[in-house]
Amino acid sequence: GAGVSQSPSNKVTEKGKDVELRCDPISGHTALYWYRQRLGQGLEFLIYFQGNSAPDKSGLPSDRFSAERTGESVSTLTIQRTQQEDSAVYLCAGGGFRWADTQYFGPGTRLTVL
């Protein structure tokens, strides 16, 4: 496809369950970012992958959150033992190898924890 895709588009889960969110970046984008957008707020940085370098995990809010990326392709964000405060839209973005490069955002996954 031409853009960043994310799946699922919506996810409703019960408190305490684990969820896995997927991001398919644009081919050739070496950088991949995950952000979280809570209702009525701006985006919060979660984690950043750049090529084969060690990821920048400085934005992950707790050890319940983790993410993986295989090479320069698909990434998955996993939230274990979900809590109601995890409810948000989770956005993935891809970009080039320079930090000033434009980031291209996917449509997001809306997570609702009941």
Binding site: Y33, Y35, G42, F45, Q50, D56, W99, T102, G108
Partner: protein, 111 residues
């Protein structure tokens, strides 16, 4: 540490009148600055970005922004608002790759 402050959470203008969305930034290093727009039920779209070239940056849909280092500002302007400009606008700073977003400004355009 880097941060951005969007000075108005909500701006309302009439169609055809100028738009001004205000943003101040804080950065220890020479920053890259961006404005993104988010229309309802749509993804984030880049309007424009500043990366230490010309201080007046022109973007899509007639928007522009001026980088003023002395004022640490990067305000977004448009001479004449259209109904289609109604959306959420985010001022963003980056100097390490990850983007730091402001809280957003909701732009309402009245007919």
């Amino acid at each position: 540490a880097q941060s951005v402050t969007q000075l108005d959470s909500h701006v309302s203008v009439s169609e055809g009148t100028p738009v001004l969305l205000r943003c101040n930034y804080s950065s220890s290093y020479s920053p890259s600055l961006f404005w993104y727009v988010q229309h309802p039920n749509k993804g984030l779209q880049l309007l424009l970005k500043y990366t230490s070239a010309a201080t007046l940056v022109k973007g899509i849909n007639g928007f522009e922004a001026e980088f003023k280092k002395s004022e640490t500002s990067f305000h977004l302007t448009k001479p004449s608002a259209h109904m289609s400009d109604a959306a959420e606008y985010f001022c963003v700073v980056s100097n390490t790759g990850k983007l730091i977003f402001g809280q957003g400004t909701t732009l309402q355009v009245k007919p």
